[in-house]
Structures are given as C-alpha cells and as structure tokens.
Subunit: 193 residues, 2 copies
DNA sequence: GACGTTCCATACCGATCGGTATAGAACGAT
DNA sequence: ATCGTTCTATACCGATCGGTATGGAACGTC
C-alpha cells in the first residue's frame, strides 16, 4: 500500500557504492550521491537512513560483490595458491575497466577529518578481519607442513595484505592491470614454497 | 618596518605539516589549521596565501625533512642496499613515535572530492618522480651488472614503491615499527641479489 | 610624536555541508 | 469516491566550509 517508489533501491545502492569507491567517504557529498543515484534527498534519507548508514550498506555490498574472491581463495589447497589468488583477486577488482580505480576500503581508510572517526574505525576493523582470517589460514598451512616450520603466518598475512594495499594505491593512481600483475609476480617470490 | 609578526612562520608551517599528515588535505579545515598553528585566519592567509599554497609548502617541507633519506639511499653502491634503505627509511618515517602515522603523500593520494583535483594530481606526480628516479637507479645497476640481465628495473621500482605505499596504509592503521620491519624483510626476499 | 606600514582580532561573506519539514502526488483498500 | 499510507519535490534548517573586509595595535622612521 502507499505510493510505490519510483527507483530501484538496489540500483541506487550500486551507484552510491561506485561514488564512494571513486571519491571516498568524505569526498562524496550528499549532492554527489543524489545526483549519481538519480533520487532526491528525502528518498535517500527515507530509504537508507543517512550518509553513514548508506556507506555501511555500500561497504557490505562491496564486500559481497567484489571481495568474495577473498573467502574462496582461502579454501585453496596450499598456502601459495591462497596468497596468489588473493593478490590476483585484489588486482582484478582494483584494475577492472568498468570499476572505479583502487579499493573502496583502502580509499576510505586514509586519515580523514575527525567527523568520520567511526567510519575510519570500521574500515580498519574490516581490514583486520581479512588479515586475521588469512593468518589463521597460514597457521593451518604451517601445521599441515604446507609452510616451513620457521615461517611466521601472521607476518606472511600482513605481507600479503600490505602488497594488496600498495597495489590499491597504485591502481587509484592510474597504474594498468598488466603492470600490477607483474608486481604480484615479484611479490610472490618472497612467499615460501 | 611595520609591526613584527608574533609567531614563527617555520613553527607554524611545521604544525600545518603535521595536521595535513594526520588528517589529509581535505580532512584538515582552516579552523583545524589556525588552531593547531596558533595563529588567526588573516595571519594564515597573509603569510601562506591560501590553503592550497600552504599545503604545497608543507609538502615541500615534508619532502625535505622526512623524505631526504630517499635521495641519499639512491647513492648506495648496490641496488639491494638502495632498495632496503628506501624501504627502511619509509618505515622509519611512517612509524616514528613523534610523527603522525603513515605517509603524508599517501594519506593525501587517495581519491577525494573533485575540488581537490589539483592537489591529487600533484601528489601522484610526486610519487611518479620518486618511482622514476628509482627505476633509473636500477637501470644503472643493471648496466653495471649489479642486477641480473633479465630483471626489469621499472617493475622493481614499482614493487618497492608499492610496498612502501602498503606499509604507509598499515602504519596509518596503527601497525607498529617492528611488525613493519619484518614486512620489509619479507619483501626484500623478492629482490634480486 | 606623527606617520606609513605591517600584523592581529573580530566580524562577516557566499557557498556548501548533512539533514529535515512541508506539501502534494500516486497508490491500495474500502 | 474517499481515505490512510507512502512516496517525491521543494524549500528550508543550523553549522561549517574556504576566504576576506575592517579597525585597531605595534613597530621603524622621520
């Protein structure tokens, strides 16, 4: 009952996601959002609550639609394939032609004004979740003899995540996919096995 | 002649530098700046022109006072020492207790609002300058037989800069120096020699 | 000590920020 | 046809953005 909304909420959220991805959280204004999503301010607030809630929904959608490779990569049989698939997956997302450059999470992770402290905390937390899951996967690999006994799973996980974050900066600065692929190949030389 | 200014322009610029370092370009407001620098708005505009000029002066000071290691590292005798010194130098600056976390350049390098496009271009350009200088140094190393004949100096330079940018993200997310040191050690395993 | 100059304090500028109040338009139910 | 509900359009809110105009205070010079 009541008047049906004239826009598709899913399409609108996707548009918001891409704006946040390209311009960061604070770099994207409400006007940017309403223009890009093709809706008015009352529609935005009525449907998505406010800017912060909208960003969190966009972040969730981003993780579901663009970072899914991460969790399937964890299921690869050996640690080296896990690491390679994760790096390749990040680079693919970061350098996809039809996507904005870089990584939404890293783009929003930078130090910003005090007003967005909660967003910053969430972002850092999301990175940590991934990093810890990867560390646990490498611990298992070490137990299974897949990684050397003297290797440090936590350090290796941090290394992979750091390279991924570095490639995100490169990609949002305009680096091409092939160049970043070669980067991944170099980084993988550091990886045991 | 005229009334002497009541503040030290150098101290004020240093304060501005640290604010931009911690909060990025757009995350730092004029009020943040005047508060942190301990001066009034007319003093700021009279002495430094405007926000953008102030940022450029802070950037220049940053490169002189915190990135000087980069250019001296290029003068190290072999490519491996060059690479290691650069990574260590970045990490030192990024994780110095008395400094804000991360790297001013990387913190300002992410995508941000359209208003700061010129700043963004400058930042990307500064990164490219360093990366190209490093690539030239590695080309020399290759000619001198210091790097293998099949190595790609440009790719190696991009790899080192990418790791440095990744460590900046880590450091601005609160990673400690020792952890990031171990990261550098892992990354250096990828480096020839 | 009057003067030109330079700096500082305050108050102000238009524009934009995130967010909302109000009123009308479009529906299903009756 | 009318009513309650839910959407949209417009206009508006106080706060803050980067930047400036104005008026007086502190100097060197004469």
């Amino acid at each position: 009952m009541g008047r049906p909304r004239e826009f598709d909420a899913d399409d609108a959220l996707q548009a918001a996601l891409e704006l946040f991805w390209r311009k960061g959280y604070e770099g994207t204004s409400i006007t940017d959002l309403t223009d890009g999503m093709g809706i008015t301010k009352p529609s935005l607030y009525g449907t998505f609550g406010n800017k912060e809630e909208l960003f969190r929904m966009a972040l969730q959608r981003y993780e579901q639609n663009y970072m899914a490779f991460f969790w399937s990569a964890l299921e690869q049989p050996d640690a080296r394939t896990v690491a390679f698939d994760i790096l390749r997956g990040f680079v693919n997302a970061q350098t996809e032609e039809c996507n904005p450059g870089g990584c939404l999470v890293v783009n929003a992770a930078r130090a910003c004004s005090d007003a967005a402290l909660e967003i910053h905390k969430t972002i850092v937390e999301r990175i940590q979740v991934g990093q810890k899951a990867l560390a646990r996967r490498f611990e298992r690999a070490k137990r299974e003899g897949d990684l050397p006994a003297d290797s440090n799973p936590e350090d290796l996980a941090r290394f992979i995540m750091t390279v991924a974050q570095g490639t995100a900066v490169q990609a949002s600065s305009g680096a091409g996919r092939d160049e970043v692929y070669r980067l991944v190949d170099i980084a993988m030389k550091s990886f045991p096995g």
